[in-house]
């Protein structure tokens, strides 16, 4: 199966500064991929290269089988791009701008009106269609940015922080819209909002200082970070005695009492502690109310990977 995005050894220098260093990744058709990283990690630079706005210093990328540099026009015909800072022509109305974008993308004749109606309905722009872009609120501009990216149903959508600057209800709307796009479109989106990634993306690529530090599903990443490393249990028994007994188990690094008989047990070496804990509670004759491994949140995975990298 041909990949929608193939990035190989991609590097980009700004003068002497290395912004992106030998990136390699691929995205298959229909996938929704989250692109994560702290500020200045190289996310936006990578997306700008994929969108054909910048040329890489070395290495390359292919979009829908077309090289981003040598077949730039065909590559750009396959994508819709929402830049990080959406700038639109303030002197045009919403309809005039979408008409321009549609014609430039090759939507012609009688298809044009239907296509404009489709994207305006999808992004909730009907009520502002005659307004000048200069008078639109930030939320509407963001939606208009997304609407122009959706024109002509491009197989790939590159969205750089699609929900930034939107109010909570708009964020939910845009997320729902992106979820609806899955399957028909391949989506690569960069964001700072980690729950958004957990909610929307089948896979995350975490990038730091221009390099990929992780690329997997959210579940796999949190599992890899230490399956069974953290166990949450709830016991009916004398709290002090329970804590001391747990602390005495082999491999336990730390026990934190959470109150009302709940404890968080962390192993020092990532070993699975649940069988040991279960046996201990039964041996002592206490009542075991709950015992489960606690997965790491994406925030924790992210911070762990990024700080690990920095140290």
């Amino acid at each position: 199966m041909e990949m929608m995005i193939e990035v190989h050894d991609l590097s980009k220098y700004y003068g002497q500064n290395l912004a992106v260093s030998r990136l390699n990744f691929a995205v298959s058709p229909g996938e929704i991929v989250g692109f994560l990283g702290p500020n200045g990690a190289g996310k936006t630079t990578t997306l700008k290269i994929l969108a054909g706005f910048l040329a890489p210093s070395s290495g390359g990328a292919r979009i829908n089988g077309f090289d981003c540099v040598t077949q730039s026009l065909q590559a750009r015909q396959s994508l819709g791009y929402l830049p990080e800072h959406v700038s639109l022509y303030p002197d045009l109305t919403v309809t005039q701008f979408l008409q321009f974008a549609a014609r430039v993308k090759g939507v012609a004749g009688k298809d044009e009106k239907a296509e404009l109606e489709r994207v305006m309905a999808a992004c909730g722009l009907e009520e502002v269609r005659r307004k000048l872009i200069a008078t639109l609120s930030k939320g509407f501009r963001q939606r208009l940015g997304l609407a122009q990216a959706l024109l002509k149903m491009p197989p790939l959508l590159i969205l750089d922080e699609p929900t930034i600057g939107l109010d909570p209800s708009q964020i939910v709307e845009i997320r729902t819209l992106i979820q609806e796009l899955a399957g028909d479109h391949t989506v690569i989106l960069s964001t700072h909002i980690l729950p958004e990634v957990s909610q929307l993306c089948q896979r995350v690529i975490i990038i730091n200082r221009g390099q990929i530090v992780a690329s997997d599903t959210v579940e796999n990443l949190s599992r890899q970070m230490g399956q069974g490393a953290r166990t949450l249990l709830s016991v009916k028994g004398p709290e002090g005695e329970v804590a001391a007994a747990l602390q005495g188990l082999p491999g336990v690094a730390q026990v934190t009492a959470k109150g009302e008989g709940a404890f968080l047990v962390e192993s020092g070496n990532g070993h699975e502690l649940r069988p040991l804990i279960a046996r201990l509670v039964v041996d002592k004759g206490w009542d075991l109310l709950e015992l489960r491994a606690q997965e790491f949140t994406l925030e924790e995975v992210f911070l762990n990977l990024v700080t690990e990298e920095e140290s």
Binding site: G52, L54, P83, S87, F100, A108
Partner: protein, 263 residues
């Protein structure tokens, strides 16, 4: 190819919409028409005074009346002065073209749309040229008004307009190149004005007797304009203007390409 052409047409349409919704076109047009109208009026006034005097002398010297020609006395000087006025106004029409796209960030969308660099450049250039031709078209009313009351050599007026179109095209291509160099419209306008002035006064070097005078004169944009005003279409002049336009559009293209690598 078809989609590229339609993209270019869409860009021309968008640029025209922006020209007509922002004050720059109206201010430029107002200044241009007031100045051109003023010069036409003074030329006609001068011509009528001279004609009157000539008519009085004609009884004594019949040859004088034959030398009075509206082409020489009204339209040639008018084309000369209109060209100078346009050199001042063209930077106002071109300074926004690419500088504003870069400053406001709309370049990021424009250059990720499926348009070639030539598509973008030609779209913007042709839109500016159309605006320029609309301004020129208003001045045709002067010739029509004159033709209503006197004899007019339409052929010479036509070549004058052809000359103005080519001169304007050359100035617009240079202005667009200046606009591709910077994000600041004022800087783009100033650079365009400086370069235009340079290409205008270049021809004067020969008059002070420099060895390179011939070359400078050949490169001067005003030098090639005189023929058209006199009613002569010389292929050398045509080729000069077309090459000049292509050269600056080409430089603009290179400038856009380098942004992709440098940015």
């Amino acid at each position: 190819m078809k989609s590229v052409t339609s993209g270019c047409l869409a860009l021309i349409r968008k640029e025209l919409t922006v020209y007509f919704t922002t004050p720059i076109f109206y201010i430029t047009g107002f200044c241009f028409l007031v100045l051109a109208g003023y010069f036409f009026y003074t030329n006609v006034l001068y011509y009528s005074i001279i004609s009157l005097q000539a008519a009085q002398q004609a009884a004594m010297n019949p040859q004088v009346a034959g030398q009075l020609n509206p082409q020489y006395m009204v339209f040639r000087p008018l084309f000369g002065v209109v060209a100078v006025v346009l050199l001042f106004l063209v930077p106002l029409l071109t300074m926004r073209l690419l500088a504003e796209e870069k400053r406001s960030g709309t370049a990021e969308l424009l250059f990720t749309y499926p348009l070639t660099d030539w598509g973008v450049i030609l779209g913007k250039f042709l839109a500016a040229l159309l605006i320029y031709l609309i301004l020129l078209a208003f001045t045709v009313s002067f010739a029509l008004a004159f033709a209503a009351v006197g004899r007019l050599d339409w052929g010479a007026v036509g070549t004058g307009y052809l000359g103005l179109t080519l001169l304007g095209g050359a100035a617009l291509s240079l202005g667009m190149f200046a606009s591709s160099l910077t994000e600041n419209q004022i800087v783009a306008g100033a650079v365009a004005f400086g370069l235009l002035l340079f290409f205008w006064v270049m021809g004067w070097v020969q008059e002070v007797g420099s060895g390179l005078g011939g070359l400078f004169q050949a490169l001067s944009i005003m030098e090639h304009y005189d023929g058209f005003v006199r009613g002569v279409i010389d292929t050398r002049d045509l080729i000069f203007y077309l090459s000049f336009i292509y050269f600056f559009l080409f430089l603009t293209k290179r400038q856009l390409e380098s942004r992709r690598w440098r940015a």
